[in-house]
C-alpha cells in the first residue's frame, strides 16, 4: 500500500540531495518524489510516495534531518492526490476522433496533434490517470512522462486545522 509523506524543508542549497542521499543510504524504496516551492517563502515542500512497511522509519529519519521543518504522513484516502502525465499516442487521421472522445471523458487535453500522433495531458488522481492510460494504450503509446505525485490533506482529515490562522507566508502571497 502506498503512503504519502509531505515534507516541509528549509530552502537551503542541496536539501534535495540530502533527502535523496538519506533514502539511498538507509535503503528506503521510494516510489516518487517531487519538490517545489511552498506557501512559506523560505521553505520547499516535498511529496514522497513510499511503500507502507518502512513508513515509520522513513518519517523518523526525515524528521531527524536538521533542515526539515515538518513531516506529515497521509494514509491512503486522507489526501487529495494528483499526477500530471504527458503521453504521446499514435493516431492516424481516422482514429483521431475516437481518441479525442475518449480523452474528453477523462478531461484530458490534446496538447499537440500531429499527422501520426496526439499528445495528451492529463492532471488527475493516480487512479484516473492509470484508467486513462489503459484506455488509450491499445492505440499504441509512443512516449510517456509522469510527474511525481503531489498531495494535500483533505479538509477535516487529521492534522491540519482549517480554522487555524493561515501561515504567514500565505498572506505574503495574497497581498
Amino acid at each position: 500500500m502506498k503512503h504519502i509523506i509531505t515534507v516541509q524543508v528549509e530552502n537551503k542549497p542541496g536539501v534535495l540531495a540530502r533527502v535523496s542521499s538519506m533514502f539511498a543510504r538507509r535503503g528506503f524504496n521510494i516510489h516518487s518524489l517531487t519538490v517545489g516551492p511552498s506557501v512559506e517563502p523560505d521553505q520547499s515542500r516535498m511529496t514522497v510516495v513510499v511503500d507502507g512497511p518502512e513508513m515509520e522509519q522513513i518519517v523518523k529519519q526525515l524528521r531527524k534531518m536538521i533542515n526539515t521543518v515538518k513531516v506529515t504522513e497521509l494514509a491512503p484516502g486522507e489526501g487529495i492526490e494528483r499526477e500530471v502525465i504527458l503521453v504521446r499516442v499514435s493516431s492516424s487521421a481516422a482514429q483521431r476522433g475516437e481518441l479525442l472522445d475518449a480523452a474528453s471523458i477523462f478531461d484530458a487535453r490534446a496538447a499537440d496533434v500531429g499527422p501520426s500522433s496526439i499528445t495528451f495531458e492529463i492532471a488527475d488522481s493516480p487512479e484516473r490517470c492509470n484508467d486513462f492510460l489503459s484506455l488509450i494504450s491499445p492505440y499504441g503509446i509512443i512516449e510517456l512522462v509522469k510527474s511525481g505525485r503531489i498531495a494535500l490533506r483533505k479538509d477535516g482529515r487529521g492534522e491540519s486545522h482549517p480554522g487555524a490562522a493561515a501561515p504567514s507566508g500565505l498572506k505574503a502571497i495574497g497581498s
Partner: protein
C-alpha cells in the same frame, strides 16, 4: 565602530567565541588563509601527521572532556582523509566540528587542483554539514555548527570553506541566535510514558537496565546510580558506556554483547523487563535480534526518536535526554514504591549462579607466553585512575572486559565503526584534553601500524601518552574468526614477530621504547612506563599469538548460543 575582518579572521574569532581551546589539523593550499590568524590566537593548534590522526585526536579530546573536538584539514585529500574520523564520530555520537578548506567558489565544479566534493562525500557521515558561500555567514554558521554538534544526539558537523570566502572581507558581527526551525531536540520525557514505564518497572521480577553510551553523553551517571539502586535492578553497560556505572558496584553485571560478560548476556536473555537507556540495540549487543531478550518487555529511552523502534519495537518508548528522563523515572519510581524497595531475590540468586559458574578466565603461567588479560590486570592495579583508549580487535575486547572502570570518560574506543588505528591519535587528543591524567592506549600491532605516526606529534608536542602495544604478531581478531569459522585456514593475518622493531621505532619517533616478554617483567616494565612524564612511551608486550577472546556470540547467532569459554568449544577437553 565597524571592524573589517577577513573570512579567516572571522572564523578564528567565531571559534574563540565557542570556547575552543585546541584544534587538531594539517594545513594545505585551500585552508592556508586560516592558518595565518591561528598565529595570533590563543587557541592551540596541534599539527597532526595525517588528517585521520587529527580527526581521531579531536574525537579523543571530545570523549575525554565532553567538549566539542575541532579538527582542521585542507581541501581534496585533506578532507577525504577526514572521512574515517567523521564516520567514526557519527556512529559513536561524538561531538566534533571539522573545518575544511575548499577550492575557490569560482573553481568549484571544474575539477580544480585538490578539489573534492567534500560536502557531498561527508553528507552521509555527518550529523549536518555546510558549504559556506558568503563570508558574512561565517559567524552564524560556526555557532550553528557547534550547536548542532553538541546538542540532542551529539555528532560530527563539517564546515567547508572555499578559499575566496576565507580571504574575502566582512564587517564583523557577533553570531546571532541559531535559526533552525526544524531542530528541537527533546529534553524531558513525556510524563504519561514515564508513568507507563514505572508500571512496568514495578511489575518486573527480572529487570535489567541496558545502559548505552547515551547515558554517558548525557552525563547521567549520578541519576543512573540512584535509579538502579532504587529499582534494585541489575545493570549492564555496553562497550560505549563502560565507566558510566562503577564496575565494582554489586548491581553491575558487566558488558553485554558479542564478547560481553556471560552473566550480562544471559541476564538480558532471561529478563522480563529490559530498560534500554541511551542504547540502540546494536547487532553486536543483540546478536540475532529476533531471539534477543524475547521474554522481556522493553522500555526504550533515547534522545533520537529514530532509534526507537528501529530494531526492536518497545512497549514503552520515551524520547528525551537520558539524564533528565532517568531523573524523571527515579522520581516516579520513588512515588510508586512508597519506601519499599523490591528484593528480586530469586533473580539475584540466579544471576549469582551464572557469575560463579562463568567468570572471565585466562591462564597465565610463570614461563608461558604472555596473556594480554594478565598485562591489562597488572596495569589496572598500577594505574587504576587512568583513562584507557583502545584500538579495535582482541586487545580492545580484553581491555573492556578486564579493566575495572569506575568513572565515566575513562574508557574511550571506537565502538560503532570499529576503526583500527583509533587508539594512538585518540589517546593523544584525550591527553591534550585531560593533561593531568594518565592516558594509556591499549593497542594491537595491526592497529598501531595504521596510525603510529601520531606519536611523532605527541613527542614533539610533549604529550606524554603511554601506549601498551599488544604484539601478538597477527591481526588477532581476524585470525580468531578464521580459526573458529574458516577451518583454521589463515589468510593474510600474519604480521610476523620481529618487523618492525617496535622499540627502535618508538625511539626513532622520540618516544621511550620498552619491550616485555615474560610474566615477571610485566610489572617493572609498566612501572617504568608510568613514571615517564615528559615523553610518550611505547611498551611492546610480546603476547601469546594464539589466545582467543571469550565469551563469544558468533556473528548473526542468537545470544542463547554464546560460547562462554574456550573449553566449551566442541572438541575441547
Amino acid at each position: 565602530m565597524t571592524e573589517i575582518l577577513t573570512g579567516a579572521q572571522a572564523l578564528m574569532r567565531s571559534l574563540e567565541i565557542e570556547g575552543v581551546e585546541v584544534m587538531f589539523g594539517v594545513p594545505g593550499g585551500a585552508i592556508l588563509p586560516f592558518y595565518d590568524p591561528i598565529l595570533d590566537s590563543p587557541v592551540r593548534h596541534v599539527l597532526a601527521r595525517h588528517e585521520q590522526g587529527g580527526g581521531h585526536m579531536a574525537e579523543g579530546y571530545a570523549q575525554a572532556t565532553g567538549k566539542v573536538g575541532v579538527t582542521v584539514a585542507t581541501s581534496g585529500p585533506g578532507a577525504t582523509n577526514l572521512i574515517t574520523p567523521l564516520a567514526d564520530a557519527y556512529m559513536d555520537s561524538v561531538p566534533m566540528v571539522a573545518i575544511t578548506g575548499q577550492v575557490p567558489t569560482t573553481a568549484i565544479g571544474n575539477d580544480a587542483f585538490q578539489e573534492a566534493h567534500t560536502w557531498g562525500i561527508s553528507m552521509p557521515c555527518t550529523k549536518h554539514n555546510y558549504l559556506v558561500t558568503d563570508v558574512d555567514e561565517i559567524p552564524d554558521t560556526i555557532a550553528e555548527a557547534f550547536h548542532v554538534a553538541s546538542t540532542g544526539r551529539p555528532g560530527p558537523v563539517l564546515v567547508d570553506l572555499p578559499k575566496d570566502i576565507l580571504t574575502a572581507q566582512m564587517q564583523w558581527h557577533q553570531p546571532g541566535r541559531t535559526n533552525l526551525p526544524g531542530y528541537k531536540p527533546s529534553t524531558h520525557g513525556h510524563a504519561r510514558q514515564v508513568s507507563a514505564a514505572i508500571d512496568l518497572v514495578m511489575a518486573a521480577n527480572r529487570p535489567v537496565l541496558y545502559v548505552g553510551g547515551g547515558v554517558l553523553k548525557a552525563e547521567g551517571e549520578v541519576e543512573l546510580l540512584r535509579f538502579a539502586e532504587r529499582a534494585n535492578a541489575p545493570v549492564v553497560t555496553t562497550l560505549m558506556a563502560r565507566g558510566v556505572f562503577p564496575d565494582s558496584h554489586p548491581l553491575h553485571l558487566g558488558m553485554p554483547g558479542m564478547h560481553g560478560h556471560y552473566t550480562a548476556i544471559r541476564a538480558l536473555q532471561e529478563a522480563d523487563l529490559v530498560v534500554a537507556l541511551g542504547a540502540r540495540f546494536d547487532d553486536r549487543v543483540t546478536g540475532d535480534p529476533a531471539s534477543f531478550a524475547q521474554r522481556a518487555k522493553i522500555i526504550h529511552v533515547d534522545v533520537d526518536p529514530a532509534e526507537i523502534g528501529k530494531i526492536r519495537v518497545p512497549d514503552v518508548p520515551i524520547v528525551g535526554d537520558a539524564r533528565l528522563v532517568i531523573e524523571q523515572l527515579d522520581a516516579a519510581l520513588a512515588d510508586a514504591q512508597a519506601g519499599s524497595r523490591p528484593e528480586h531475590t530469586a533473580w539475584f540468586e540466579e544471576l549469582s549462579v551464572w557469575q560463579r559458574d562463568y567468570p572471565l578466565e585466562y591462564d597465565q603461567t610463570a614461563d608461558g607466553p604472555l596473556k594480554q588479560q594478565y598485562v591489562i590486570e597488572e596495569l589496572n592495579k598500577l594505574a587504576p585512575d587512568a583513562t584507557i583508549v583502545a584500538g579495535v580487535g582482541q586487545h580492545q575486547m580484553w581491555a573492556s572486559q578486564f579493566w575495572k572502570f569506575e568513572r565515566p570518560r575513562t574508557w574511550i574506543n571506537s565502538g560503532g565503526l570499529g576503526t583500527m588505528g583509533y587508539a594512538v591519535p585518540a589517546a593523544v587528543g584525550a591527553q591534550v584534553g585531560v593533561p593531568d591524567k594518565t592516558v594509556i592506549a591499549i593497542d594491537g600491532d595491526g592497529c598501531f601500524q595504521m596510525t603510529f605516526q601520531e606519536l611523532i606529534t605527541a613527542a614533539i608536542e610533549k604529550i606524554p601518552v603511554k601506549v601498551v602495544l599488544m604484539n601478538n604478531s597477527s591481526l588477532g581478531m581476524v585470525k580468531q574468526w578464521q580459526r573458529l569459522f574458516y577451518d583454521e585456514r589463515y589468510s593474510s593475518v600474519d604480521l610476523t614477530t620481529h618487523t618492525p622493531d617496535y622499540v627502535k621505532l618508538a625511539e626513532a619517533m622520540g618516544c621511550v621504547g620498552i619491550r616485555v616478554d615474560s610474566r615477571d617483567d610485566v610489572r617493572p616494565a609498566l612501572e617504568k612506563a608510568l613514571a615517564v612524564e615528559d615523553q610518550p612511551v611505547v611498551v611492546e608486550v610480546k603476547a601469546d599469538p594464539d589466545e582467543m577472546v571469550f565469551p563469544m556470540v558468533p556473528a548473526g547467532a542468537s545470544n542463547d548460543d554464546v560460547i562462554a569459554r574456550f573449553r566449551d568449544l566442541p572438541g575441547q577437553p
